[in-house]
Symmetry: C2
Subunit: 325 residues, 2 copies
């Protein structure tokens, strides 16, 4: 069973509200996300970044619903010997919450054999909820910022790059150029300290021509596939239009990375993926910053990638928590 | 540092809303609770009971605030090989939620090296929130039902009693009488499948003479100590008035248990502990069922236990997640 099949089953067992980025309850949305050591982060990542990321991933879900985050609760389990670090953890969480204008109103503390953070965030719907299911054939498909850096950062961390308590990044090779080290450090920071699109989400909801939205948590291909499935349509993506993290395309080969794989399938971006009839220049003007049209919604199901004018099938190959690997 | 000291520190770092059973946000309360395998339950406990208990402990916090539960979200991590059991887990969760009139509106799924359940529950304040901080000298101290069974059940589970998928309890000794086996099974069921006081909580909030409330999650002595600290007062408990789970007093010695320890310090009862100027007969009539006055709030700080007319200090010796043992 894939994660999406499990979610479909839960939707039938529990509630039809399940299956979007967050559940809509009156004029609120609510979402929950658990980060587990050894699965979502490694034991050597400073707890400060675990705190910041655990909040950001939840606020990204709130943003994808077009809601503004208001408050959150945090349940945390740490090893007994990590208990003295809890206050620093919560200070980092408070700092991140302040940046987003969110109040952490409650929590739960446990000891466990590994570190687990579970945040539940609540947001207010200011205009209307944005759902995954509203995309229409002919709509342009947008991403809110450049892609590829988070997966690149993850890959570098898996190959020996390290992060210190203050976020200072070290590469295992002394022979890398300054530019490559800087690029690697930027990518790693994007991975360990992602920003949720908390202002853009409510803004998109206020634009009537925006038809659907999801956040890119498991990879563009996988999350676009979810948006298409919910909307009952397909998609055509033009590879030339995909916005790539600055300098990543040129530097990827030297870092042993494949840029197009990172951009198409890399997870934990927390950019918003949304659809609208508006053209790119008008959409960017309406939101007051560049956003990127990368393709079109089609009536026919399935995802297609166009490279140099040639179409081929685009498979969802992003992250699946329950895929048999 | 004790758990209460950590909570006090978090209150200063995060929000003054922290420190009651749930946080009050407008006319809502929100609370979160994480259950971790190996800490809060053992790996051999059927997942169905983990599901039911994880909901009940959150709804108990909602009840202690005098609120009526409305919806909840559930984040669950299981081992990859347990994935086929997820649907049964969520069916049990749905069944329990239906019993309380609560909708499970969202969730998150992860794989991990151990099972973790985190539920966040939201409730509606119908009249006013009940806080820990309102107890007044002279108030009677109440518990909502008999105590001792949950800790007795835990003790029996630790000594080889087992629970099957359908909740059938087996004792390791064939020589126990039918009555003792039945009592043991009742105690274990109280431990693995506790009921939250979801109707009583909002009812207490509607009675103006109820001055404070907390649920007994870590033990009467520890939770009463929290209520006294929040209210700036002390308490006198009369041991003769403590309501003991039926037949537990007589059977405890044969089961190797000390009834008064279980009643005073045993955790995970999820009875409500509350205070009111009303006398026992009137309070019971107002709520339409027996509740038990066990002592009085005093002006002087500290807790006192009266046994056969003799007073001695009552120490908070319930469960502390971060106590150095």
């Amino acid at each position: 069973m894939t994660e999406d099949e499990i979610v479909a089953s839960l939707r039938s067992v529990l509630s039809s509200k399940i299956g979007d980025d967050a559940a809509v309850i009156g004029d609120q949305v609510i979402t929950t996300d658990m980060l587990v050591e050894g699965v979502d982060f490694t034991a050597d990542l400073p707890l400060r970044f675990v705190a910041r990321k655990s909040l950001a991933v939840n606020l990204s879900d709130v943003a994808a619903m077009g809601a503004r985050p208001t408050h959150a609760v945090a349940a945390v389990a740490v090893r007994r010997e990590d208990q003295p670090r809890l206050e620093a953890f919560f200070r980092a969480l408070r700092e991140a919450a302040d940046e987003y204008g969110v109040e952490i109103v409650g929590g739960d503390l446990s000891s466990a054999a590994l570190t687990i953070i579970n945040i539940t965030a609540v947001g207010r719907i200011e205009t209307r909820p944005l759902l995954r299911s509203g995309a229409k054939p002919g709509d342009r498909i947008y991403v809110s910022r450049t892609l590829g850096a988070s997966a690149a950062g993850l890959s570098l961390l898996q190959r020996g790059w390290t992060v210190g308590e203050r976020g200072d990044v070290k590469s295992p090779s002394a022979s890398l150029s300054f530019e490559l080290r800087e690029l690697g450090a930027s990518a790693i920071r994007r991975h360990i300290d992602p920003a949720a699109e908390s202002d853009l989400g409510p803004l998109l909801a206020s634009i009537a021509e925006v038809t659907s939205c999801i956040d890119i948590s498991d990879g563009l291909s996988t999350d676009l596939n979810r948006l298409c499935a919910a909307s009952g349509c397909g998609a055509l993506i033009e590879r030339e239009r995909l916005p790539i993290f600055p300098d990543l395309l040129g530097a990827a080969p030297q870092l042993g990375l494949r840029a197009s794989e990172l951009v198409l399938h890399g997870g934990e971006e927390y950019a918003l993926l949304f659809t609208s009839s508006l053209r790119e220049s008008e959409m960017s003007e309406r939101v007051g910053r560049p956003v990127y049209a990368i393709g079109r919604i089609r009536r026919e199901p399935g995802m297609t990638l166009m490279v140099d004018g040639i179409e081929s099938e685009l498979e969802p190959r992003g992250f699946d928590h329950f895929a048999v690997s």
